[in-house]
């Protein structure tokens, strides 16, 4: 069955705050599709990513998010992950003392235990083979697995670690939150190659980006523009090129009213 992530009329704010950042998002992402979500600063892109993953710092006020018809908003972040959702963080947090390898082994074991409480977890040799294979595929040095998670990682290393986690956990729907930010062209190409290697019939992706340049490497099937907490334009790859050409100014002019009405 093809996995489908449906976002319907989603309204959300920072937890405890009355001002809505998301003000009625409607979007459907299916396994095998690549959607690009673009938008100017403060349009709500990262909020959407975090609300989808269940970041407790945000609060949903209205609307629903369904994964294969299941209510995602009722799930804890770990349940969302085990259901097949993934978020590549814009700012991955450092966890001192926990190696990337150990962390991913626990993540796999959490999946096995959720299916079978008596599971002994993945055998270490099998896990080591899996990690080595994925790191080779993503041109990541094997010593990476032994480093403390994101601690002292460069911007590029953090993003590659996110893509590696995605490769190991094999989500059905992945959200990439500004994975291109802070990367030079070489690092961007490596990350994009990794994403391209993973997307396909088994994974759908929502690629959130401020700049069109990421889309030179990751070819989206659909492009959406987020502005004022809503998706105001949707189209094919040509929409991204138009934004590159004209910037976000025309979006602002065209949809300015949206902001005013609500305030």
């Amino acid at each position: 069955m093809t996995a489908t992530l449906e976002i319907r009329n989603l309204h959300a704010s920072v937890d405890g705050d009355e001002d809505m950042i998301l003000r009625g998002i409607d979007l459907t992402v299916k396994q095998g599709e690549i959607h690009a979500l673009m938008g100017p600063n403060a349009s709500g892109k990262s909020t959407l990513a975090n609300v989808l993953m269940g970041n407790p710092a945000y609060e949903v006020h209205e609307g629903e998010v369904l994964l294969d018809g299941e209510d995602v908003l009722e799930m804890e972040p770990d349940e969302r992950s085990r259901a097949g959702l993934f978020l590549a963080f814009q700012y991955p947090v450092a966890i001192p003392g926990v190696t990337l390898g150990n962390f991913l082994r626990h993540a796999i074991n959490a999946r096995l235990k959720a299916k079978d409480p008596d599971s002994k977890g993945i055998p270490i040799p099998k896990f080591a083979r899996l990690m080595r294979g994925k790191m080779t595929q993503l041109h990541i040095d094997h010593s990476f697995a032994g480093r403390y998670l994101n601690e002292g990682f460069s911007g590029g290393e953090k993003k590659r670690a996110e893509v590696l986690q995605m490769a190991v956990l094999e989500p059905r729907i992945a959200v990439l939150d500004e994975t291109d930010s802070g990367l030079d062209i070489d690092a961007l190409r490596i990350v994009a190659d990794g994403v391209n290697a993973l997307t396909g019939p088994n994974m759908g992706a929502l690629v959130i980006t401020h700049y069109q340049r990421m889309l030179n490497y990751i070819k989206p099937d659909f492009v959406h523009v987020l502005y004022g907490g809503r998706i105001v334009e949707s189209g094919g790859p040509e929409l991204a090129l138009e934004l590159e050409d004209k910037g976000y100014e025309w979006i602002r002019e065209k949809h300015e009213a949206l902001l005013k009405v609500e305030v």
């Binding site: 970041n55 947090v93 926990v98 962390f103 993540a107």
Partner: protein
């Protein structure tokens, strides 16, 4: 509402008498010099009041100890090593111990030393046997250079009444290349006064672990101990101490490393057990080029109180001391770390560092850290720090976003906090065991 503790009642003293000292010394037929030292220590003990409001004691209230139970000297009562949990007896690395000494209720029940170490001239024995076989060596070093009777009330009591101990001696230019392992286990309640004396002569090397543990009990116990680590010029000692007394034990201990010229001491101190621990942990860098790394980890829960009082004494120029303590507290536990770096005047080009990192796991727990410097030289690099943190939601969310459950995420973050310290324990098997013990404390 703040609880104001009334400090009207002075601490009770145990009811030891001079006759106890004489009786102990007689029973073992001790040499006259040792008997004289015990008597001198008894004098100091007698004229020193029970510590109470002195700076290093005023935050540590131990008046709830029931001396009537705790002061009775633990009797061996047919103790054997069969009483000791298997985990404490496991070899530190591989299948082979360099040496193993096991004490149960203060009685030596196992004593092993690899032939290769015997051939190196390594002495690894109980202190009683050392007094018989290596009297001159013991006389020269026992409570003369490191811990001394005048260090405090409990140091004096220990010097007067210590009843068992370990003596390690590695001769000049020798290397004990297999680890030495000591287990001090008590299966009965009462007082144990154990002593560890480690002497590395010039250019000698050794790696050693001492474990303290006791069976659960309902009566109060006391451990009034002393540890002396003396590292000669160019020597190198790696020393691990792990304390896991039962929850009725009050520990009052003095531990001191003395590090000679160009010598290294790498000392890891783990405190997990006891009801109350008051430990003085000090290093004296006494020769130019001496280098000491002092590491500590502690995890207090369910009413435990740990007070770790550290001091780094730079008594020679060009000395380097580096102290890192990391601890956690949960439930209503309380921990206190008081650190001090001192230098004598004119001790130039010294480098002293101390930091204590605290992880607070409940609203009822309390952790204090009080770093301090007393430097009487000007060409120095000395610094200190204390940090306090709680479990933050952001890293928990990050781990959960990969499918890891909340309890597991919390566990991983706490274990990660301790990992840096545990990596300083040079035995993989011991690290794993400590991680399991930390996990047991977290899960509670």
């Amino acid at each position: 509402m703040a609880v104001v503790r009334r400090r009207s009642a002075l601490p009770q003293a145990p009811s030891y008498r001079l006759a106890d000292v004489q009786k102990l010394s007689d029973a073992h037929g001790e040499p006259a010099w040792l008997r004289a030292r015990r008597m001198e220590a008894w004098e100091i003990y007698q004229r020193t009041p029970m510590p109470y409001l002195e700076e290093e004691w005023r935050r540590t209230d131990y008046r709830h100890i029931r001396w009537a139970e705790a002061e009775r000297m633990i009797q061996p009562n047919g103790a054997t090593s069969a009483l000791v949990p298997a985990k404490n007896l496991e070899p530190l690395t591989g299948d082979e111990q360099g040496g193993l000494l096991v004490f149960v209720n203060g009685k030596l029940v196992r004593s092993e030393l690899a032939d290769s170490l015997v051939a190196q001239g390594v002495i690894f024995t109980d202190l009683r046997a050392a007094l018989r076989d290596h009297e001159a060596l013991v006389k020269e070093r026992l409570m003369t250079q490191a811990v001394q009777a005048g260090d405090g009330k409990f140091a004096a009591l220990h010097a007067a009444l210590w009843s068992y101990g370990v003596f390690v001696h590695v001769p000049r230019n020798s290397t004990a290349d297999l680890p030495l392992h000591v287990v001090c286990y008590n299966s009965a309640a009462g007082t144990a006064m154990g002593h560890v004396l480690v002497v590395l002569e010039d250019n000698a090397q050794a790696t050693m672990q001492v474990e303290y543990a006791s069976a659960d009990g309902s009566e109060h116990s006391a451990y009034i101990g002393a540890t002396e680590l003396i590292v000669g010029a160019g020597g190198n000692l790696r020393y691990v101490s792990l304390q896991d007394w039962n929850r009725e034990t009050f520990e009052f201990s003095h531990q001191r490393g003395v590090v000679g010229r160009d010598a290294q001491l790498d000392w890891v101190n783990g405190v997990m057990g006891s009801r109350l621990t008051k430990a003085f942990i000090e290093v004296d860098a006494v020769g130019a080029g001496a280098n000491a790394r002092v590491s500590g980890f502690f995890f207090a829960d369910r009413g435990q109180f740990f007070d770790l009082d550290t001091q780094q004494n730079h008594n020679a120029p060009l000395t380097n001391t580096d102290l890192l303590f990391k601890g956690a507290a949960r439930d209503n536990a309380r921990t206190l770390w008081q650190g001090m770096i001192k230098s004598l005047p004119q001790m130039q080009r010294i480098d002293g560092y101390q930091v204590c990192r605290n992880l607070l796991l409940s609203d009822e727990a309390r952790m204090d850290s009080i770093p301090g410097l007393e430097i009487e030289a000007d060409d120095v690099a000395c610094s200190h720090a204390a940090t306090f943190g709680t479990l933050e939601e952001e890293p928990i969310y990050y781990l959960m976003s990969r499918g890891i459950t909340r309890p597991q995420a919390q566990l991983m973050i706490i274990e990660g906090f301790f990992d840096e310290l545990l990596q300083r324990v040079p035995f993989e098997r011991v690290r794993q065991r400590l991680m399991d013990e930390i996990e047991a404390k977290i899960i509670g």
